[in-house]
Symmetry: C2
Subunit: 144 residues, 2 copies
DNA sequence: GAATTGTTTATAAGAATTATAATGTAAGAA
DNA sequence: TTCTTACATTATAATTCTTATAAACAATTC
């Protein structure tokens, strides 16, 4: 299923001016396979063996390209570097404040929040973002 | 009322080992008076005339102190620098994707989201964060 | 096949934040 | 009060993440 989603993403790119390159494919593949929330540097390190000559800038550039096309989302949490997540179904993130672990969390979309915000503020609302913070099971046990 | 909240924050600090200094008071005062969401640099610039010798590091250090005590919250959006917000009542932020304006938005707390997340993930949930993105009225009109 | 457009690489530059060391200031004990 | 200790501030240097630049490369179009 990760493969199907990857294919969808590749197809989405075909409809734009964006060319498919080995590096791009590898970055997408890593994102869809790992299903984690890596930083640009995580991706860079993970692909080092496969692409010894790849530049960090390539990772950043392509993540931005993917973001603009809409197949990747950038997550900025408290920690220094951004994390990237492939846009699949609507889900939220539960984040461990102690170790930084990120777990996906499905929840019916908060549409009513968006509509209420439109009425109250006069904005044209496009999107929202929510994160939940806490201590994961491992870190909970650590603090005994 | 901003003054009352400021007093509360000052009192909260008295109960810790944290000392009150002129710089700290000025930073808090600015946060509570302006009711905006300034960056560290905004604060630094705003207090320049009052404290010509203050270092940027002081602003950063103290914002972190306030954050740890729990009277200030750090907001990390896509843009490069963090923004800081005094923790008052529970409210969310509506952010203009075009001009960056931030508007407060009151909404009954999403407690059920937190409890559901606890059950599903096994986390001990402390907190959550939500932001709503859209175009403010000015930017809506601009794009005609 | 030549020209154009887009891509990668390597490196340098930029910006935000943190660490360090020296100096300053307030609180507590003698 | 004076000495000592602990905390704060300042100035500067160092780090880290990210972006810009220019040259080399590859693919697409005419």
């Amino acid at each position: 299923m990760a493969n199907e989603q990857l294919q969808e993403a590749v197809n989405a790119l075909k409809n734009t001016k964006v060319r498919m390159t080995p590096q791009r494919h590898a970055i997408l593949e890593y994102l869809y396979d790992s299903m984690s929330h890596p930083t640009a540097d995580d991706i860079y390190k993970a692909l080092e063996s496969k692409f010894p000559n790849m530049s960090v800038a390539t990772v950043y550039n392509n993540l931005r390209v993917f973001k603009n096309v809409g197949i990747v989302r950038e997550l900025t949490y408290g920690d220094s570097s951004s994390r990237f997540d492939c846009v699949t179904t609507d889900h939220y993130h539960v984040i461990c404040s102690d170790c930084g672990k990120i777990v996906d969390f499905h929840y019916p979309g908060l549409d009513e929040v968006e509509t209420l915000a439109e009425h109250v503020t006069g904005f044209k609302v496009h999107d929202h973002r929510m994160e939940i913070y806490g201590s994961c099971q491992e870190c909970k046990n650590m603090s005994h």
